[in-house]
């Protein structure tokens, strides 16, 4: 049996509100598939399951606000035992519905008996009148039957959710979340800062040529080259690709670049571009476009918010030349890029105008020293001089 817990969708998230379940009891769920929509301080997030299996029980009710780590559902893992577990930590959990049909190798095609709903005729009628899908509810009547009271409660929950959170309210809550994470960062993380100026001439020329060959729907932004360069440089200096937990750094095998995206109404999110080192520039661009679109529409996925292993922030669009970033805990590094500007540059003994970019690194001194940080920035520079191999 696996427990589905209220996830942490960012540093300092303490609780979340279940908006709705995307699956019913007895449904099969695959790892990575959305199981629930959870409202956090920042946005409504589609939360993915970490387990493949059959949903044994949904414990949390839509509308309930529960602390991080609360068991929200029980999933029977594929190949796992079929016996029902004792109600885990759930307060006043309703009785289990009839256990689903025992899983055999062919269980995926066998219709489950669990789908049969215990509901009184009056409750059924009321549910239909109010447009509530009774199969998503937890009955509190005899043997888990759904009662009129259950429908009433579901109606209240639905009404509460339907009431949109005011933009101002959302913004205030997001500000609080950012405040908590950044205060924690500055309180706990001994930052050190390095920066270097990178000649972007080759990268920009290469990008211009490449975009000339590409239809408008497939063109690249130079920000994608920067993200890819950071991802590849992390392979050389992997200690910067880590999370600080329980007093020590844990390196991450995979490279998930948190990309700071400012929201139009104010505020900021930094969801992950997963496995950025392994994607082609075209794939990375597509994923980046999709991520920005969904970040601004408020439909990010839980894994995107919870698993970045480093953050990249580009403030060049605002005319900024140098970024002095604050690390997003529990990450241990942040890379900042400023604006590409024309500056006099010495190349082969001659002063020439070149487009240059200031790259900065904010890193956790508990984990790395300036020497390794310097190697990392030098590697980003080297990679950007060979844009064709990114």
């Amino acid at each position: 049996m696996a427990e589905f817990l209220m996830p942490t969708l960012g540093a300092d998230m303490t609780d979340g509100t279940l908006v709705q379940w995307k699956k019913k009891e007895g449904d099969r769920i695959a790892k990575g598939e959305t199981i629930a929509e959870v409202d956090t301080e920042k946005a409504a997030i589609d939360v993915e399951s970490h387990t493949t299996g059959i949903i044994e029980r949904l414990i949390t009710r839509p509308g309930d606000k529960v602390p991080v780590g609360t068991v929200m559902a029980i999933i029977r893992e594929e190949g796992g035992p079929t016996t029902s577990v004792a109600s885990p930590r759930a307060v006043a959990a309703p009785p289990s519905p009839p256990p689903p049909a025992p899983r055999t190798e062919s269980a995926a095609v066998a219709p489950s008996q669990a789908g049969r709903l215990r509901i009184s005729p009056a409750a059924k009628k009321l549910a239909a009148e109010r447009g509530i899908d009774a199969s998503t509810l937890q009955g509190t009547g005899p043997e888990g039957a759904i009662t009129l009271d259950d429908i009433d409660r579901a109606t209240t929950a639905t009404t509460d959710i339907a009431k949109p959170v005011g933009a101002a309210d959302r913004q205030a809550r997001m500000r609080q979340t950012i405040a908590a994470a950044m205060a924690r960062s500055k309180r706990e993380i001994p930052h050190y800062y390095l920066s270097t100026t990178i000649d972007m001439g080759r990268a920009i020329t290469w990008l211009k040529d490449s975009n000339e060959q590409r239809p408008v729907t497939e063109r690249l932004l130079y920000g994608v080259l920067l993200i890819k360069a950071v991802a590849l440089a992390l392979r050389r200096v992997p200690e910067l690709n880590a999370l600080w937990k329980d007093g020590e750094a844990h390196r991450s095998e995979r490279i998930h670049i948190g990309t700071a995206i400012s929201l139009r109404q104010g505020g900021l999110v930094a969801p992950a571009l997963h496995d950025a080192d392994r994607l082609s520039l075209s794939e990375l661009m597509q994923n980046f476009q999709d991520l920005v679109k969904r970040a601004r529409a408020g439909s990010l996925r839980s894994s995107e918010l919870s698993d970045p292993t480093i953050t990249v922030t580009s403030l060049g669009e605002q005319g900024v030349e140098t970024v002095f970033g604050v690390i997003y805990p529990p990450q241990v590094a942040l890379v900042g890029f400023g604006k590409v500007v024309e500056r006099p540059w010495v190349a082969d003994g001659l002063v020439v105008p070149r487009p240059v970019l200031m790259a900065s690194l904010s890193a956790d001194h508990r984990v790395t020293d300036g020497h390794r940080g310097g190697l990392f920035l030098a590697e980003i520079d080297r990679l950007l001089q060979e844009p064709q191999s990114l």
Binding site: E212, V216, G223, R264, F288, Q289
Partner: protein, 85 residues
């Protein structure tokens, strides 16, 4: 090719596309000669999405070197009317 659009129709469509990219912006008070970026706080991703949307809506090719011509409302209308004729 679709039936040619009037200048007003074209203007309406361009404003609709901008409204989708910057939903909170008031496009009715847009100054036609000032760049979208300055008025609507568009970043390069927004502008790319805008160009892609123009391409799809008006069936025109927009090379990257022409981007600056599409940065104001008047610029867009001039380019789109030239593409139609």
């Amino acid at each position: 090719m679709n039936t040619p659009l009037s200048k007003d129709d074209t203007r309406r469509q361009v404003l609709r596309i901008l409204g989708e990219i910057a939903p909170e912006a008031d496009t009715t008070s847009l100054r036609p000669d000032v760049s979208f970026r300055d008025q609507l706080d568009l970043d390069s991703m927004d502008f790319l999405n805008f160009v892609v949307a123009l391409h799809k809506e008006f069936h025109i090719e927009i090379p990257e070197s022409d981007y600056p011509k599409y940065m104001t409302l008047n610029g867009c209308l001039t380019q789109l009317s030239a593409a139609r004729s």
